[in-house]
């Protein structure tokens, strides 16, 4: 890790933010196309070649809509709540490493905005703040359906955040660090099982944690089949019922960016992040690897939405506390025991 001038860090962060925004726009396109293919439809085709300009048209449409504020709404909270969701989703990306360093224009540039030594926990913390955007927006709307959606979101995110965090504890034990950069470095080493030599990706050593992480991540980002806070059929879109135009678009942006960031996070933790053949010598290869690993998770999100019906609320909480929580504790204890045994300290 080298020190670099503050403007360079800002530049990197600026680029990451804008890439995320563009990524979000095309995530909606990707989702619609994949959903359409799964349901034997065409998806967007009219705007631009193969409908590629559709996200931009959608954006312009959203921005030009009338901005409605309910008369009974709490104006300031109503105004700030969507921004909380949006900002917290973007800030999370600051600790994701897109590689180590790149040599550009005679300078060594770090391919991450910051290497916080508690990076993985930082992601959890900031996504915990994001839930305020949902519950405050729901409350400020002065609408009972919204309030119900907000309360569901609060209970759901608090429950699943616990599981998400505990599922990562095994990785922290193995890597001995909370820094995402060091977790990636750890995964670049090789693991030899007899004659086989495989990469030390944590999906191989922590398969149970990986499955639990995937489930909890879907619930944490309020996506189908765990999208109870915005269940259209019962709550009329839940917490954002009263939101329109660009205020609604911030919720929308926040949700999709949170999906992308949690997919990046998952690839960093379990799939070795930017590591892959040749990525040590060519930094851009690492970014391409990370991109495709992230696409896998994003596809999984869409696939879930196309396949599974929405859960009932008690089922959702039941899975969290009665199934996933004991499993994740078991995983933690077993991992800790193995780690101790491999250090020769257990017996």
């Amino acid at each position: 890790m080298n020190d670099q001038p503050i403007w360079l860090t800002f530049l990197v962060a600026f680029i990451i933010m804008n890439v995320l925004l563009i990524g979000m726009a095309y995530m909606t396109y990707f989702e619609r196309k994949v959903l359409a293919a799964m349901q034997d439809r065409m998806g967007p085709t009219r705007t631009g070649p193969a409908g590629l300009l559709q996200p931009i048209a959608d954006g312009i449409k959203l921005l030009s809509k009338e901005d409605l504020i309910p008369r009974a709404a709490d104006k300031w909270v109503f105004f700030f709540a969507p921004l909380v969701v949006f900002v917290s989703a973007i800030v999370t990306a600051a600790v994701i490493p897109f590689g180590q360093t790149a040599h550009l224009f005679g300078r060594d540039v770090n391919l991450y905005a910051t290497d916080l030594n508690v990076g993985a926990l930082f992601v959890m913390a900031v996504s915990g703040i994001g839930v305020y955007g949902i519950i405050l927006g729901a409350w400020a709307s002065a609408n009972r359906f919204s309030l119900l959606g907000g309360l569901r979101a609060a209970a759901q995110v608090v429950s699943y955040e616990l599981i998400l965090g505990l599922s990562l504890a095994g990785i922290f034990l193995l890597a001995g660090s909370l820094s995402l950069r060091e977790i990636v470095l750890e995964q670049q080493q090789n693991l030899s099982i007899g004659p086989l030599e495989i990469k030390n990706w944590y999906i191989f050593s922590q398969p149970l944690a990986f499955v639990i992480f995937l489930i909890a991540a879907v619930a944490e980002t309020n996506r189908a089949p765990f999208d109870l806070p915005e269940a259209e059929t019962e709550l009329i879109s839940g917490f954002h019922t009263e939101y329109s135009a660009f205020r609604f678009s911030f919720y929308f942006l926040g949700e999709y960016i949170a999906m992308i960031v949690i997919s990046l996070f998952a690839s960093t933790l379990f799939l070795g992040g930017p590591s892959g053949p040749g990525s040590e010598s060519h930094w851009w290869l690492g970014i391409i690897y990370l991109f495709f690993k992230t696409i896998i998770f994003l596809f999984f999100y869409v696939w879930l939405r196309a396949t599974l019906p929405r859960f009932r609320y008690d089922q959702l909480m039941g899975i969290a506390w009665k199934v996933l929580f004991p499993l994740v504790l078991l995983n933690l204890v077993v991992t800790a025991a193995i780690r101790l045994a491999s250090d020769g300290k257990l017996f």
Binding site: I6, R71, A72, A73, D74, V77, L116, N117, V118, L121, F122, M124, A125, V126, G128, I129, V131, Y132, I135, L136, W139, A142, N143, R144, L147, L148, G150, L151, A154, A155, V157, V158, E161, G165, L178
Partner: protein, 240 residues
């Protein structure tokens, strides 16, 4: 250095302002929002001190869990339905003031003794770096020097969780008697079905038949809904 000083003053000023806002706000939800902002600023100060782990835990535990659940309660219970919320009893005021002053003295003593003695603590940056960072340092101290208090807190929290479960599931534990069968509905003052008084235009006020000067809570009874569990269950059929 100047950068850090500037950021420190920004974060500190915001922390104090939001703490003041938390006390000054009339609406409890607004107070809670200011408290959340204050927590985040304090986490920022922790980061500047090099205590990243404390900062993140501060946000995860207090901001991400405790305050969310507190907001939960504040939103469900309409403060206009609880008259004692606005008219604090003398006893409450005296106890509140006493506790506040005690906390202030405690913090002043803690800061003062260290400042007067002038000696740095044992956890110097070098000592922390030796064990591999502040996360590891906190872990070591918690599980060696403060192991007993740590375990006692765990026990107390476990008892708290058990208590909450017992309160939430009385019928399964055979404590049917004395159980309240009412739940408080979502009594949002502005989310109710009454016609809203409009600021301008007397005729609309006449239409609604109420005076504009009347505060929202007066004359409104606490909305109680019966527990859905009270509905008679058809034998052999599923409750829908």
């Amino acid at each position: 250095m100047p950068w850090e000083t500037l950021i420190f003053f920004l974060v500190g000023a915001l922390a104090i302002l939001s703490a003041l806002g938390m006390v000054a706000m009339n609406n409890p939800v607004h107070s809670a929002i200011f408290l959340v902002i204050c927590f985040v600023q304090i986490a920022g100060i922790f980061v500047m001190l090099g205590a990243e782990y404390l900062a993140v835990i501060q946000i995860i535990v207090y901001t991400g869990a405790v305050m969310v659940l507190l907001l939960f309660v504040l939103m469900l219970v309409d403060m206009d339905d609880l008259p004692e919320f606005h008219t604090a009893e003398p006893l409450t005021r005296v106890i509140g003031t006493l506790l506040g002053v005690m906390l202030l003295i405690e913090v002043a003593i803690a800061i003062g003794t260290r400042t007067i003695s002038g000696a740095p603590g044992t956890d110097t940056p070098e000592a922390v770096a030796l064990v591999g960072g502040n996360t590891q340092a906190i872990g070591r101290v918690l599980y060696t020097k403060y192991l007993l208090p740590f375990e006692i807190i765990s026990m107390v929290l476990t008892v708290g969780v058990l208590g909450a479960i017992v309160l939430a599931l009385p019928e399964r534990l055979g404590l049917e008697a004395g159980r309240r069968r009412d739940t408080i509905s979502l009594g949002h003052p502005r989310g109710t079905d009454t016609v809203l008084p409009i600021e301008s235009g007397a005729e609309t006020a006449n239409l609604s038949g109420r005076s504009n000067a009347q505060p929202a809570g007066v004359g409104r009874t606490l909305i109680m809904a019966t527990d859905p569990d009270d509905q008679p269950v058809k034998v052999g059929g599923r409750r829908s």
